[in-house]
């Protein structure tokens, strides 16, 4: 039973990190109809800048630098590339972000070499013990930080002018523009938020018990794709539910060593869960079903 609780907590922690990344996918998709394949390398970039800044300043400041630099990079990507290709085919835009991803990750790979960097988070390898359950502090921090960020996002999305503009733009872009909503500003901030979320997520992805930060973190970010898809690409709540579901599934299969063909199924469980959900609901759990009659 203790193991079960530990696994649930671990899963929730991993899931909340996935939720942050998946939310980035969803916000960008809602605002610009772009599936952002460059999110993975943005995440690695955020981690890299944070580690580099950490050499000169305390962790919190370094994280702030990392988050703002990543948000700025996302903004540049949106302004320079996406904005100029807007209105294009969804697939073409997705392919465009794949190109950007290749460019970013090639430069980052060159800078990393074969090094594994430590992000220098304040939690280190300390554990928390309560009620017989022990959990790395960083995992607990992940849950709390993600909860705060998600709550802040949903409040802003619901009540702030930005949130209203964002929702209006996603509902009907042209009508929103006619109502005086500055779509350019909305899409730009959407990309910045996605970049910032990725830069926060990378801290917890690479903190203890993970070995550290290298360009492999990009692949972990790809595991948030199933989270965004199974919740529904245009549903913010879906991203959170999807993230938690994927995190729990991964933690459970790893913890109870569920194997198939002799390999640990935890490596592929996000993708298996996604395929099963898509079989039943082709637009994800909360996604808008686009139906057309003939």
């Amino acid at each position: 039973m203790t193991q079960f609780f530990e696994l649930v907590l671990n899963g929730l922690s991993l899931g909340s990190i996935y939720a942050l990344i998946a939310l980035g996918f969803v916000i960008v998709f809602k605002a610009t109809e772009v599936v952002n394949f460059a999110q993975g390398s943005l995440l690695v970039l955020g981690g890299y800048i944070t580690t580099q800044a950490h050499d000169h300043m305390p962790f919190v400041l370094a994280l702030l630098v990392g988050v703002s630099a990543t948000a700025f990079t996302a903004l540049v990507i949106e302004r320079v590339f996406i904005h100029n290709a807007r209105g294009g085919d969804v697939n073409a835009l997705a392919i465009l972000t794949i190109g950007i991803d290749i460019l970013l990750i090639t430069e980052l790979t060159r800078r990393f070499g074969s090094n594994v960097l430590t992000i220098g988070d304040p939690w280190g390898n300390k554990l928390v013990h309560f009620a017989g359950v022990s959990l790395p502090q960083s995992r607990l921090a992940a849950i709390m930080v993600a909860f705060v960020l998600l709550a802040a996002f949903f409040l802003a999305f619901k009540f702030s002018n930005w949130g209203v503009a964002m929702r209006a733009g996603a509902e009907d872009g042209e009508a929103a523009a006619l109502m005086g909503i500055r779509r350019g500003r909305v899409t730009a901030t959407a990309w910045m938020v996605a970049g910032a979320l990725a830069a926060v997520a990378v801290v917890f992805l690479t903190a203890f018990p993970s070995p550290g930060l290298d360009t492999g973190a990009r692949e972990i970010a790809l595991r948030a794709f199933p989270a965004a898809i199974l919740g529904g690409l245009d549903s913010t709540a879906g991203a959170v539910v999807g993230g938690l579901a994927i995190g729990l599934a991964e933690s459970m299969t790893a913890g109870y060593s569920v194997t198939f063909l002799g390999g640990s199924l935890a490596d592929v469980i996000p993708y298996l869960v996604m395929l099963v959900i898509l079989l039943v609901r082709p637009s994800g759990i909360f996604g808008t079903r686009e139906l057309s009659r003939v």
Partner: protein, 398 residues
């Protein structure tokens, strides 16, 4: 009108002549090239086959797929399973059926098609970008299977691929010995002709599919699913069919890669492979078979050519020196090429080529009417329907 028609005929004939000439030149190349260039050529031709399959799926039918690496793997592993010896060596515990290589090749392609069809409950229902991301999962699930299903795949170290032979003629050994114009024809030279034949076959088949009923159906489906369905195109069947066809292309490419490598290992069929196939078709121009061919050769040959001549190229750093070595330069170039083509020339190399030949033709006398767009030269504008003709309702389709 008749003038336009003769001009069209003339251009067609010139186009066909150029293509035939190209094949003749390619057939003569083994007389001159050394082994490393020949091997690059083999991989390029394998990539050509795979890229044609992807350009039909992603370009002509508008279905983004990142699963191409997976279907290549299905072809490669199936071939080495069907053709492999029943009595496996100690190193790899992989089984095999020991069928003749030709039969194994056909079966491997069929197998890739069947696996593509098995994915059709998902591929046929998902809309647009959902398919792209769902197909991503096949690559990762595939990697898991190759590394763990040791009986079929040989596990982490992979398994050997049986060399190709046709009616006793060995393609990989010097048996029977053969030399043309005093050039001994070994493994690479022999495989060259097999690959050239397969690539030409794939090219001709691909252009004919796109020109035929199925090609029209899938292009209509790409431009508007509603309009296609109104015209009597069965959307689910077309999606599933084109997915299976593209998988078969990928399967054949996988067999070719296995033959060129002589080994099938899991670390080859990973996501970057899918992405480089996507780069090939985007650089070549989505939906263009000729463009995919050019893109495949460009993407496959560039890294090896850069590293081969890195000593004489000042901007290429030595490998693992922390600078931009051949691999990183070519990766960056593909990334840049994708970005630039999507932004400035979505039709890729093929549209670029058409624009150039169009300009040349305008200057040649008598060709003025010839550049009048005919239905074959003009590619329909590729824009997906927006919310305009899809209604967002919660009801079920009637």
């Amino acid at each position: 009108m008749s003038d336009g028609r003769t001009a069209l005929l003339r251009r067609l004939r010139i186009g066909t002549l150029v293509r035939i000439l190209l094949v003749v030149v390619l057939a003569a190349l083994p007389l001159y090239l050394d082994n490393s260039l020949l091997q690059t050529g083999l991989f390029s031709m394998a990539a050509v086959v795979g890229a044609i399959g992807l350009t039909i799926l992603t370009g002509a039918a508008g279905q983004l797929s990142l699963a191409h690496a997976f279907f290549l793997a299905v072809g490669a592993y199936s071939y080495s399973y069907f053709a492999g010896l029943p009595d496996p060596s100690k190193a790899s515990k992989a089984h095999g059926l020991g069928l003749p290589p030709v039969l194994a090749m056909v079966l491997a392609v069929a197998m890739a098609g069947v696996v593509g069809l098995l994915f059709s409950p998902i591929a046929g229902r998902l809309r647009g970008i959902y398919l792209g991301v769902a197909s991503l999962s096949l690559v990762f699930i595939g990697s898991f299977v190759y590394e763990n299903a040791r009986g079929l795949t040989g596990g982490f170290n992979g398994r050997a691929a049986t060399d190709f032979s046709l009616f006793g003629f060995q393609f990989a050994a010097d048996h029977p010995p053969l030399s043309i114009l005093n050039v001994p024809y070994g493994r690479f030279e022999r495989l060259w002709y097999l690959f050239l034949f397969l690539a030409v076959l794939a090219y001709v088949f691909g252009t004919n599919v796109l020109r035929g009923r199925m090609g029209r159906a899938m292009q209509t489906m790409r431009d508007s699913e509603v309009a296609a369905a109104t015209m009597g195109v069965d959307i689910r069947r077309t999606k599933a069919g084109v997915f299976a066809l593209s998988s078969m292309y990928a399967g054949l490419a996988g067999v070719m890669v296995a033959l060129a490598f002589t080994r099938v290992t899991p670390d080859y069929f990973i996501l970057p492979l899918s992405i480089s196939y996507l780069a090939m078709v985007v650089i070549g121009g989505l939906g263009s078979v000729g463009g995919a061919t050019l893109g495949a050769v460009f993407v496959t040959a560039l890294p090896t050519l850069l590293s081969r001549y890195s000593d004489s190229l000042p901007f290429v750093a030595a490998p693992a020196s922390g600078g931009y070595d051949a691999g990183k330069i070519s990766a960056a170039l593909f990334g840049l090429a994708i970005v630039l083509f999507v932004l400035f020339e979505p039709g890729g190399l093929s549209a670029l080529g058409k624009r150039l030949t169009g300009r040349v033709r305008r200057h040649t006398p008598g060709g003025v009417r010839g550049h009048k767009p005919d239905d074959r030269a003009v590619e329909p504008q590729r824009t997906l329907p927006r919310s305009g003709n899809t209604t967002r309702t919660q009801e079920d389709p009637v």
